[in-house]
Symmetry: C2
Subunit: 291 residues, 2 copies
DNA sequence: TGCTTTCCGAAATGATTGTAACAGAAATTG
DNA sequence: CAATTTCTGTTACAATCATTTCGGAAAGCA
């Protein structure tokens, strides 16, 4: 009994590829190259696009084990449905049987939805401006987060420090603020993370920073932190999750994308800096070489 | 001049929904409910599934601004192509025109690919066991990360502390270890984050913890940290990114999913704990109420 | 080279599709 | 309640589609 029935259409085609004739393979590779949209239309269109005759397409379908082109096509539509339904976790469809109930899959779905919502909403120009601010060596960078987002501020700072100097993490202990604020001059940049429930400490620091003439970038959720009122730029992220808390994944993605953008803008300076850092780390014997 | 031409098919349908007749709306909602696969087949199949006549479908298509069903369908196929090509960034197709070259989109694509790879590879049973360990109130939890992953360990600890007691972050300053190790008894759990380049300090701590009889969970990248050799459980994540560094997004997703799993396992105890924490925060006036 | 086998597309055919025209039903209006 | 408009399905028909048939081209073999 052939196992093919359980396989996806794509795999089946790939597997059959060696046993096909020249024209048939021409069709198959064309479909695979534009999978699966190429085979969603009529057989005529597909044949013309693949530069073969329609009977060839029919023969291919039958060779793959389908009754004809419509049969093949409906199998393909089923595949499309599966691909579209959940971008991730396509593998668990057969393993679990039940509609994805495992927390891993539910969470993954939520995360992807958040990313989708977040990224379709971000204004590219705005993002670029923020990246420009952070890449400007004449500005000092400060970052702070709330109870939950403190880790993200930490992450931003520790990686940004590799790219450029003058990056400071402001802890949420407010006694560390005054000295930092003392150094803050007009043009400096404060990146403030604040998601619900919005914290007074963040708002206060933002207000103080604005008074010092700093450019404030607020990264918040879609209900928008009150601190955003004072901010020059606001980046909003979607954070819904099937749990008691929110998911800050899209915030991390924003941070990493900002880092990548800054790094690419300052590549010359960064590169030299990074290699220097590497040798320092090597010499301090903290790292083990990856074989 | 109607802006409809630039809109996606789905949006267009939703927008037109109020202006449709009963039978037309029946078709439209059916399509939207099973979007877009329902309308990828023949008009006859669609009409039967939506329980209307075929001319109704035709009239709907024309009302939406298409010349007929085939025209509508080909527009739909274009949409499918876009959806499949990149799960995110559906919005930039018309804004940019050029093939998505903006760092936001490239990064988003990479992240989704990482999530896909990570989640299709995780063993659910293994994951559940880790969640079980972390949810066990009789075990103490310790966490540590490397230079980059320190923020993730921090995040795990600060949120886990809400759910349960006895959670400790081990900083990467090794002078904080001995007192922690002193408390570590057989059965306790150490969660160690270690991605390339793998750090000696993590490896050392893991070895020490194993000697104390602790259960070690290593969260690493797909090249697998040497520390994993000593671990009871290993969760691997994909971290490739279009930048000079890696993207730790999938690691954060793992962390958050673990948190969600633990929280749902200990919901009774957690809930009481969380409400207590809320009142404490309220009383300390650190937060501003979200209106 | 001749013979066979395999492969491929033009042509023919039946089936299905998508659409226009029409007519009855339903809703709306005066 | 009749008149009118709007909506919807049945019917009919042209267009397209998918498939089978068949002849010739290409490749393999003696």
């Amino acid at each position: 009994m052939p196992m093919d029935l359980a396989l996806g259409v794509e795999d089946k085609m790939r597997a059959a590829l060696p046993d096909l004739t020249r024209a048939e393979r021409q069709v198959a590779t064309h479909i695979l190259r534009h999978y699966p949209v190429a085979a969603l239309g009529s057989i005529t269109a597909l044949a013309r696009a693949a530069e073969v005759s329609t009977p060839t397409v029919v023969r291919l379908c039958q060779k793959l084990g389908y009754r004809g082109y419509p049969d093949y096509q409906s199998a393909l539509r089923g595949e499309v449905e599966a691909m579209l339904e959940s971008p991730l976790v396509k593998h668990d469809r057969w393993a679990g049987g039940a509609p994805d109930t495992h927390i891993l899959n539910r969470f993954a779905d939520a995360v992807v939805a958040n990313l989708q919502a977040t990224f379709s909403q971000i204004d590219h120009a705005d993002f670029d401006q923020v990246a420009g601010l952070l890449a400007d060596p004449s500005r000092r960078i400060f970052a702070m987060g709330g109870r939950i987002t403190h880790a993200h501020a930490d992450y931003l700072v520790s990686l940004m420090k590799v790219v450029r100097p003058e990056v400071t993490l402001l802890s949420d202990m407010s006694n560390t603020w005054p000295p930092a604020l003392l150094d803050m001059t007009p043009g400096d940049v404060l990146v403030a993370f604040d998601i619900r429930r919005y914290e007074n400490s963040v708002l206060q620091l933002v207000e103080l920073a604005v008074e010092q003439g700093a450019e404030v970038v607020v990264i918040t959720d879609r209900w928008v932190s009150p601190a955003a009122a004072h901010a020059r730029h606001t980046l909003t992220a979607h954070i819904e999750a099937p749990s008691a808390w929110d998911s800050t994944v899209s915030i991390l993605v924003l941070v990493e994308t900002l880092l990548a953008a800054v790094q690419s803008r300052t590549w010359d300076a960064t590169q030299e800096r990074m290699t220097r850092l590497e040798t320092l780390y090597d010499r301090s014997r903290f790292f083990r070489r990856h074989r």
